[in-house]
């Protein structure tokens, strides 16, 4: 199942990475139509790597919007670099997507 889109582009010595993750990011406070609390379901950790080396990490709470959108900027880089984004949620689910850097 594709849960992410990832695009990386090299421009003026900066590799710009844009990502869209498909995830409900449920806070655990929302009520469904029947009035039942929807259990918390949210991403807690993301890791961004370039050519296998971690370049940034983040921890998240429930305050990141549904279907998280991100832009990051990496120093330098080359067309063809492998960019990999991985997430782990509070239920232990995880996914990873990889993309090659395109020349600006």
């Amino acid at each position: 199942m594709a849960t992410m889109k990832l695009r990386a582009r090299l421009k003026n010595g900066i590799t710009e990475v844009k990502a869209l993750i498909i995830h409900p990011m449920e806070t655990g406070r929302r009520l469904d139509d029947a009035g039942n609390t929807v259990p918390a379901h949210f991403i807690q950790q993301i890791t961004l790597a370039r050519n296998g080396q971690t370049v940034l990490e983040a921890q998240w709470g429930t305050g990141i919007s549904k279907d998280p959108y991100l832009t990051f900027r990496l120093r330098d880089g080359a067309a063809g670099d492998r960019i990999e984004l991985r997430w782990v949620d509070n239920l232990g689910a995880t996914d990873t997507i990889e993309s090659a850097v395109e020349a600006g």
Binding site: T27, V55, G61, G63, I64, P68, L70, T71, F72, R75
Partner: protein, 119 residues
């Protein structure tokens, strides 16, 4: 995952959970966000730190049920920059906290929210 910081129900507790003892207001932190947000469920925010040796950027929405939204950790290979989208429960200040050389710096931005998005 820093449970203590992320499950804190007050901004104070989130700061304690992050290990922040004192912070200095800095104009070297740029926050680009709308002044007025129609929908509190999706508010785009762009943050740039121009403080040398920035190690992390944390985002706190002071009136959210759990104020700490995110804590981004940067290696020297990444610019201390992020664009993301956040939820806000109500009109409040957003505090951005930057850690650099082991010290903490902050900037705040007031965002008016028409319809809260933390349900």
């Amino acid at each position: 995952w820093n449970r203590k910081a992320f499950e804190a129900e007050q901004a104070e507790g989130a700061l304690q959970g992050l290990g922040v003892e004192s912070e200095q207001v800095s104009e070297q932190i740029e926050i680009i966000a709308p002044q007025f947000a129609e929908n509190g469920a999706v508010i785009q925010i762009e943050i740039t730190s121009r403080i040398p040796n920035t190690e992390s950027i944390a985002i706190i929405a002071e009136k959210n049920p759990t104020p700490l939204i995110a804590d981004f950790q940067f290696t020297p290979d990444a610019e201390p920059f992020v664009i993301t989208r956040i939820k806000m429960a109500e009109t409040a200040d957003i505090k951005v906290l930057v850690k650099a050389d082991g010290r903490y710096f902050s900037a705040t931005r007031h965002i008016e929210v028409a319809i809260g998005g933390c349900g």
